[in-house]
Amino acid sequence: MRYLVLFALLGCERTHDVSIRLGPDDQSVTTGFQCRRADDTFIGDIALVGDRLKFNVVVDFVDLGGGVPGCRGEELVKTCKQPGACTIAGTSRFCVPLDLPVALLGQADQKQLIALVHDQLVAQGAITTDAPNGPLLIRAVATTESCTAITPGHPFALAQVIGCAYSCPVVLDEIDGPIGLSLDVLDEHCEAQVKVCASFPP
């Protein structure tokens, strides 16, 4: 009887389900993927292939080394100031190619665009079925680099990065539900912030 209870307890396993949104809600895309240069051109134009936009989305779990800083950039930088304090977790990186019609990009209503992006992202399957347990942040980088080049430890080629967003620090085993990504900017001219985001952690 005693062993049965122990076995039953040991056999228990909690499963959490966390879904990532590429914006503050499921109706919009974060500014981090819509940044413009100083001359007001879309930094994603380097991904144009004819009338389609082709790029890859790379999702990383950035291990914050046990610390749980605030959400602001300055707080994150302070936590990860020392080289190696924060690292990209895992031995492989999730990378999924997207192929979007340019026509959808300029529309005020982003529902159709989001649905298309979502379908292509979901088609790749789950990012992970057992996320790291510890304080981390989730970062998504849009780049024209090929997925084969995106290996663990490989720094992004910043010239090819066309978007970036991240979540607030979170312990994934303690939450269940959607988590939104964003970039901490005040307007769309955020090319520099995108590159800083993609090159994080130092």
């Binding site: 005693r2 209870v5 122990l6 307890l9 228990c12 396993e13 909690r14 499963t15 959490h16 389900d17 966390v18 879904s19 990532i20 590429l22 979502h118 992202l121 979901v122 399957g125 789950a126 990012i127 992970t128 079925t129 057992d130 996320a131 347990n133 989730i138 994934l172 085993d173 939450i175």
Partner: protein, 361 residues
């Protein structure tokens, strides 16, 4: 060169080893004999065989049957004396009455027969012209406080007796101190003495029958003459087994507890062994264990649990040594239960099941 084989031991070592082995060997345990007296609802008591309790040899005992009443032909003697008196054969009357032990009749509180015997004795003596004997019998009847029975005797004899009763009523009384088994019930001339010994009673002059009766003792009586005798001590012998059983039964009949101090002493006499367990079957089993005539343990259990009851009594009385705590099954049951509960609480409060978090778009 002489050498000892390695296995050869010196005599001292051998003796030491033998002593060690003997000391470590389990000592033989002989069961302790305990007499068991079952009373009340035997169905509630259940089976209580000789080896029902480990370490004890239970020997069932029964209450001895009451002794048959001894034959007594006093009534017949009085009838024959009465018949002789009626036909005028006063010698035969006196001869029959001489066989009657009036003191014995009074010792067993049979005052009516004693009164009849003394009345006839006075009447027969009076008619036989033995006036002094007649007066003595009348005086004895009066001194004993007996009443004139309805037996019809000659008016002269009746007058004689009446005068004697009046005279006895006027006589000064004298104190008589009586000693015996403490608390024994006293009867004087077949009447309750009104006190338990030791005590003092005031009696008219003459012969008196002093009788004592106490549970655990055989009855004792003695004839004393007042005022010549001022105090009397009656030695009472311990009651034989049959009498003890009768007294114990009578006490139960009077609603007294079976195992109070007196009841226990009676049980010890009934059992005739040093250790006796008494088990009473009822809505609850009650029991007591008497060792050397003293109550050592008392207890109660649910019906059918008589072996457990006797075992607990034996433990409480020190007849059996209570096993060490760790040798009792209840200890291990309680310990296991406590361990299980504590383990469960610790596991429930401390255990955190593995969490797997799936992340997807």
């Amino acid at each position: 060169m002489a050498s000892l084989a390695p296995w050869r031991l010196t005599s001292g070592t051998r003796a030491g080893l033998i002593t060690l082995v003997a000391a470590c060997a389990a000592a033989p345990v002989h069961p302790v004999s305990v007499a068991v007296l079952v009373d009340g609802d035997r169905g509630a008591v259940g089976a209580l065989g000789p080896s029902a309790v480990s370490g004890l040899e239970l020997v069932p005992i029964e209450l001895p049957a009451p002794a048959p009443l001894a034959g007594d032909d006093t009534s017949a003697q009085l009838a024959r004396a009465r018949a002789a008196y009626a036909r005028g054969d006063h010698a035969a009357c006196r001869s029959e009455l001489a066989k009657v032990d009036v003191a014995k009749l009074l010792a067993r509180a049979d005052r009516a027969l004693a009164a009849r015997a003394l009345t006839l004795e006075a009447a027969c003596a009076y008619q036989a012209l033995a006036k002094e004997d007649a007066r003595a019998a009348a005086a004895r009847l009066a001194g004993l406080g007996l009443e004139l029975p309805e037996t019809s005797v000659a008016p002269d004899a009746e007058q004689l007796i009446g005068d004697a009763i009046v005279a006895a009523g006027k006589a000064a009384r004298s104190p008589l101190a009586i000693r015996g088994a403490i608390g024994a019930r006293l009867t004087v001339d077949g009447r309750p003495g009104g006190c338990a010994v030791p005590c003092t009673v005031d009696l008219p002059p003459g012969d008196h029958v002093i009788a004592l009766d106490a549970d655990g003792f055989a009855p004792a009586w003695q004839v004393v003459r007042t005022p010549d005798t001022r105090d009397v001590a009656l030695a009472q012998q311990p009651a034989p087994r049959e009498l003890a059983a009768k007294q114990w039964r009578d006490r139960l009949g009077r609603g007294l507890p079976p195992t109070d101090a007196t009841g226990v002493a009676l049980l010890a006499r009934i059992a005739m062994v040093p250790r006796v367990a008494f088990v009473h079957g009822g809505a609850q089993l009650t029991g007591a264990l008497v060792v050397d005539g003293a109550l050592r343990a008392r207890g109660e259990r649910a019906p059918g649990e008589s072996p457990q009851l006797v075992r607990e009594l034996a433990y409480d009385a020190g007849v059996l040594r209570r096993p060490a705590l760790w040798r009792r099954p209840a200890f291990w049951i309680a310990t296991s239960a406590a361990t299980l509960i504590v383990s469960s609480v610790v596991i429930v409060t401390m255990y955190q099941p593995e969490t797997k978090t799936m992340v997807h778009f």
